[in-house]
């Protein structure tokens, strides 16, 4: 690792000012992904701006909206009484990710900025369009068991590795970003990108911006929600597929529903068509099966990950069933 320059700042204003002076600088929050990538030579910033002391750690209810600061740790969010009560789906998703040690340090903003776990991305001697545009995609025609089935491109079939983000997209979160001129808001579903022709870009954060906070509207989905993560070992592993499922049921009818998946696309994958199908219908296994089938309309396997074409709908059914059974 190059002996980069290290700067520390205590306000978002000064952080943005430092960033504006050197676009090649990177913010350092928990560092659990960035330092890992730097050790592997995947990214080689010459300047790090430590923003851990910037006061963006709030977790609070304002009106009908839950506010979570970008620098709140994964643990702080997952263990917060407000989140456990109002957004258990988010708490469960957070606890399904990484380990207790990593969650203590990893931040909400950092989790959103987390890069893919694709082995080709991590090995600087292998082709990867995300790491080195134009070098090719190693995973296509290679080891792609962990890779995407939705929204893939010829340039990249990597998946977004976060669990937290799957819950956040399901919960209709909004992201508040800032640059030196001011703040802007973006829907969480629009924060991450599909790979398309620019797989090097994971998201729509501009180079002069930082993530300030999340705003999540409260809902009536807390009672019947479930985060299902299917993986190769029982814990501390990335998802083969994961499903965030939440239901609002009255008189056996589904009045509101949220469905999103992880481990299947370059971004957290919201299953809007399946949601629309389920709304107003009975919360029955038959309907869950139809919704799962609908979710798979545009799915495509790449050989080693073909099993996801079955595991994904199965997992949707299971997650919905478990969400419902919490009644």
């Amino acid at each position: 690792m190059i002996n980069f320059q290290y700067l520390r700042t205590t306000t978002s204003k000064s952080a943005l000012a430092l960033l504006s002076k050197d676009k090649a600088a990177k913010f350092l929050a928990g560092g659990t992904n960035l330092i890992d990538l730097m050790k592997r030579g995947v990214t080689t910033p010459e300047k790090l701006i430590d923003i851990n002391h910037v006061p963006l750690k709030q977790i609070e209810l304002k009106g009908d909206t839950i506010i979570i600061g970008a620098l709140a740790s994964n643990t702080a969010v997952a263990e917060h009484a407000l989140i456990k009560e109002k957004l258990p789906l988010l708490a469960n998703a957070l606890n399904a990710g990484a380990s207790a040690q990593l969650r203590n340090v990893a931040t909400v903003g950092g989790n959103m900025m987390q890069r893919t776990r694709c082995g080709y991305f991590y090995d600087t001697e292998m082709p990867c369009n995300k790491r080195q545009p134009g070098s090719g995609c190693g995973a296509i025609g290679g080891f792609n068991r962990m890779h995407a089935i939705f929204g893939t491109s010829e340039k990249c079939i990597a998946v977004h590795p976060s669990d937290m983000c799957v819950a956040l997209i399901a919960l209709d979160a909004t992201v508040v970003l800032a640059n030196q001129k001011g703040e802007r808001k973006i829907l969480f579903k629009d924060f991450h990108r599909l790979a398309g022709d620019t797989p090097q870009l994971d998201n729509n954060l501009k180079t002069d911006e930082m993530i300030i906070r999340l705003e999540i509207p409260i809902n009536n989905l807390a009672k019947n929600s479930h985060y299902l993560k299917v993986r190769d070992r029982a814990s501390y592993a990335f998802a083969l597929v994961s499903v965030a499922a939440a239901l609002e049921i009255s008189d056996h009818k589904i009045t509101d529903v949220r469905l999103a998946m992880g481990g299947v696309a370059h971004k957290p994958w919201r299953l809007t068509a399946s949601e629309n199908f389920l709304k107003g219908k009975e919360a029955s296994t038959a309907n869950f099966e139809l919704a799962a089938k609908l979710a798979m309309t545009d799915a495509k396997g790449f050989g080693e990950n073909d099993f996801k074409l079955q595991m994904a709908p199965n997992s949707i059914i299971e997650a919905l069933t478990l969400a419902k059974s919490k009644a």
Partner: protein
């Protein structure tokens, strides 16, 4: 293992980079001797000084005032600088938990934390857990339940286990197992580790 980044080269460009970089932002973090040197056209020796920044850290209740390269991880700082080798390097990438220490009372992987990120913080390592010759109850419980074989993951397991109890994640065997899954044990002592944690969480072990 080679860097493809052309900027990422060597001494000369490194010094150029330092000259160009914002002195104002660096001032707060740079020893005054290095600053003086920088003003009078730093030579390589001073450039070296320049590359280290001051660090104030409390480890096991002992205060340290040193300077360190920003790229040095807390793990390597503890092991190679302070010679506190009880904290182990198992993967160096946050994937095994052998390097687990407490920072301000919370368990973290020291391999993914830069030493300089811990400015002003209190670090506790396995060496700081016992009270003199009196073992911490978790250490005693690990011996009683044989929660280890080769012993290499053990300091990390114990630091994690102490935190697990403090966090209150000990309501069942399965909860303990889940919250201890960030610590890999290749010898396979997991059930014994869970036994040790259950005993301590019930307050049965006296050191």
């Amino acid at each position: 293992m080679q860097s493809s980044d052309p900027k990422n080269n060597q001494g000369d460009s490194r010094r150029d980079f330092l000259k160009k970089s914002s002195l104002i932002t660096a001032i707060a973090l740079t020893p005054s001797v290095a600053l003086k040197a920088a003003e009078s056209q730093a030579d390589e020796r001073f450039a070296e000084l320049f590359e280290k920044i001051p660090l104030n850290l409390t480890v096991n209740n002992k205060a340290y005032q040193t300077s360190v390269e920003p790229r040095v991880t807390l793990l390597d700082y503890l092991r190679e600088e302070l010679h506190l080798t009880g904290t182990k390097k198992g993967c160096d990438h946050g994937q095994c938990g052998a390097c687990t220490v407490h920072v301000d009372g919370e368990r973290v992987n020291s391999c993914l934390s830069l030493a300089v990120m811990n400015e002003g913080k209190k670090v506790t390592t396995i060496e700081g857990l016992a009270n003199g010759d009196e073992l911490h109850p978790m250490q005693a419980a690990f011996i009683k339940h044989d929660g280890f074989q080769c012993g290499y993951c053990t300091p990390g397991q114990i630091m994690s286990a102490v935190a697990c109890v403090n966090e209150g994640h000990t309501t069942s065997r399965s909860e303990i197992s889940e919250y201890m899954s960030g610590n890999i044990c290749r010898c396979g002592a997991y059930p014994n580790i869970v036994d040790a944690i259950i005993e301590v969480s019930k307050g049965e072990t006296k050191a």
